[in-house]
């Protein structure tokens, strides 16, 4: 694979939390990971493993204490808050365990939100948001508020919101954690479909059954990468 198809390039990422006084927590102790375009990766690890910290850094919600993080070839490890916000807005689509939709807004407005922050005019915004909702099978539910939707539908709205800006990666944190098994499977099927359409997906989970949907599993333990295996499909990373 060509060098420019690397989306995420983490080099020796260290994250240390200062807990006050001399006490320090080493959440990440030198993690190096590369993720290429159209990969479907699961990041796994027990709680306290540093999995969440890794996800936050990949999602540009947090910056590493040391190490270098290149996103699409651009160094984001020491960007300021505003630039990180722009990267999150344009390049990263978040899907959360608890959906995190705005309760007072309908599905359409929720999906429009990233486009608002991107400064896209309302007519175009509405068009793209409707399209994204149709894409996740919610064309008939655009004016429903979150409390008028089922859990699975809410997560679909969240996925539509994550995709509406056509980001480089889809970052999902325990996306099925608040769903029953059947609905969870539906969401995983949606992810599979999105992957087939060319999206790069990073899944953070502690459930083996969910992680098995991914094509590559990175296991994190004690702030380090324990294992990194391609489990199915073509080995995108091996080139």
């Amino acid at each position: 694979m060509a060098e420019n198809s690397i989306v995420i390039d983490l080099q020796q990422i260290v994250k240390t939390y200062d807990m006050g006084g001399a006490e320090e927590v080493h959440a990440l102790r030198g993690v190096s990971v590369r993720i290429c375009k159209n990969e479907y990766v699961a990041i796994m690890g027990p709680s306290g493993s540093g999995k969440s910290t890794l996800m936050n850094i990949i999602g540009c919600l947090d910056t590493p204490t040391s190490g270098r993080y290149e996103f699409n070839g651009i160094n984001v490890s020491d960007m300021n808050d505003n630039d990180l916000a722009k990267v999150r807005n344009k390049e990263i689509g978040f899907v959360f365990q608890t959906f995190n939709l705005l309760a007072r807004s309908d599905a359409l407005h929720n999906v429009e939100l990233p486009l608002i922050y991107a400064g896209i005019p309302s007519a175009e915004r509405r068009r793209q948001a409707n399209e994204a909702l149709a894409h996740v099978g919610l064309a008939a539910r655009v004016h429903h508020k979150p409390n008028e939707l089922s859990g699975g539908q809410r997560q679909r709205v969240a996925v539509a919101r994550a995709l509406v800006n056509k980001p480089s990666i889809l970052l999902a944190d325990e996306p099925t954690g608040n769903l029953d098994t059947k609905t969870g499977e539906e969401i995983m099927a949606l992810f599979e479909e999105l992957h087939h359409q060319g999206n790069t997906i990073i899944l953070v989970t502690h459930e083996e059954s969910i992680a098995e949907h991914a094509h590559r599993i990175i296991r994190v333990r004690d702030g380090m990468v324990e294992s990194d295996k391609v489990i199915k499909g073509e080995a995108v990373n091996a080139a």
Binding site: N56, G59, L61, D62, D81, N82, A85, K86, R88, N89, K90, F94, F96, N100, L102, R104, S105, L113, P114, I116, Y117, A118, G119, I120, P121, S122, R125, R161, N165
Partner: protein, 408 residues
């Protein structure tokens, strides 16, 4: 910086938030409404008093000078010095009139307090002015009905009078006062005319509460040892400063002052009252606005408090917004909008109540609520929102997205 769409989103979110927390919003707005109400009322009262004052001083005539023993505004020391001045004399009026070129009319006036009586009706302690036929021209007052007394009547000290509008209303509630005879301090005078009502705050200084009689009649009936005021009207075409200088020159001659001596008289004018009044207004306004501003300040604290609550409640939402691309300034603006909007609505409520209140207050003192006061009040309320919302909004904008997303 911040896009139009973000502003629109901010306003929309604010409206939703206000609607979603109706009770809380209404209570907070009440605080601001009270503050703005108080400040607006203060503004309306000060504006009203200022206007009434201007209207009142215009009753004195802008081109009328008053030559008097005392100046209208004097310090203690000046006053004690002026006490030793010789009294003004009635004869000065003719002397001034003869020499002046820039002055139209000069009328001496003497003053006393007497009870006026007609039939069973009495008006206690009326200002009785003794003057000459020139008075009407010199003072610039207008007659509603009848005629002012003539030179013959004036010189001859005839028992005639012209009365002010309030005097007419008090003594003649139902009948025509013209040609009726009233008793003033025991002496009868036939009424020749009634003056137009002047209104304003200085009832006793305007013609409204006065009775004008020929100066010779005044001296005969009430005694001669009195201080005289000379009412001098400046010619319409003349410059006020030049006219004042001419008057001063004539007065110095009349008083036989030598070159080095100070003036031993004062030339007063209505402008002077305006200056004194403006000084007083500034003090009253400052004190008033500080006191009423306090209630607005308390309202502002309420806003700050509720905004902190709002930020805390919506920590997670802030996290989500940040995760999907909201910048610090976007979040800051969103909460500032909310605070400003609550205050603006509160302010409008305050103004809506202030208007009828000002009409009620108007029964007791002059008030005025021009558009400028309303505009300032709206501006002040929005400003209050922005100032009180600043700290909570800043707190929200500084939230770490990771922590905010984790917040339960």
């Amino acid at each position: 910086m911040i896009s139009f769409f973000e502003i629109k989103e901010g306003l929309l979110v604010s409206l939703r938030s206000i609607r979603a927390n109706k009770m809380r919003s209404v209570l907070t707005m009440t605080g601001i409404a009270f503050g703005i109400w108080a400040v607006t009322m203060m503004g309306a009262a000060i504006e009203g008093v200022s206007r009434a004052f201007e209207k009142s001083t215009s009753a004195f005539g802008s081109k009328v000078l008053y030559v008097q023993k005392f100046a209208w505004a004097m310090g203690d020391e000046e006053y004690w010095k002026a006490r030793n001045r010789r009294n003004m004399k009635v004869e000065y009026a003719d002397l001034i009139a003869r020499q002046a070129t820039l002055l139209d009319a000069v009328a001496p006036a003497v003053l006393t307090l007497k009870d006026a009586q007609f039939g069973s009706r009495t008006m206690l302690s009326c200002f009785v002015t003794g003057t000459t036929h020139s008075y009407q021209e010199a003072s610039g007052t207008t007659i509603r009905e009848g005629r002012f007394f003539s030179q013959e009547e004036s010189d001859g000290g005839r028992p005639v009078c012209t009365i002010g509008a309030n005097v007419a209303e008090t003594l003649f509630p139902n009948t025509d006062p013209i040609d009726q005879t009233i008793k003033v301090g025991g002496y009868p005078y036939r009424i020749l005319a009634v003056f137009e009502k002047q209104g304003g705050m200085f009832g006793t200084f305007t013609s409204d509460n006065r009775i004008y009689i020929p100066i010779n009649a005044f001296m005969n009936h009430y005694g001669t040892r009195r201080d005289v005021t000379l009412n001098v009207r400046v010619a319409q075409t003349a410059d006020l400063d030049e006219a004042r200088e001419e008057l001063r020159g004539i007065m110095r001659k009349v008083r036989q002052l030598s070159v080095g001596q100070e003036d031993d008289f004062s030339i007063n004018e209505s402008d002077l009252l305006n200056k004194i009044f403006q000084g007083v207004t500034v003090i009253i306004a400052s004190v008033g606005f500080i006191i009423t501003g306090l209630s607005l300040f308390v309202g502002g604290i309420g806003i700050m408090n509720i905004m902190y609550v709002s930020v805390t409640e919506r920590t997670r939402e802030i996290g989500v917004r940040k995760a999907i691309g909201a910048r610090r300034v976007t979040i800051l603006a969103q909460f500032l909008f909310e605070a400003a909007l609550i205050c603006a609505i509160g302010g409008l409520i305050g103004i809506a109540f202030a208007y009828p209140s000002s009409l009620i207050l108007d029964q007791f003192m002059p008030t005025a609520m021009p558009v400028s006061i309303v505009a300032i009040a709206i501006l002040v309320s929005i400003l209050t929102g922005i100032v009180s919302g600043m700290l909570p909004a800043y707190k929200a904008s500084k939230l770490d997205p990771v922590d905010a997303l984790r917040y339960e």
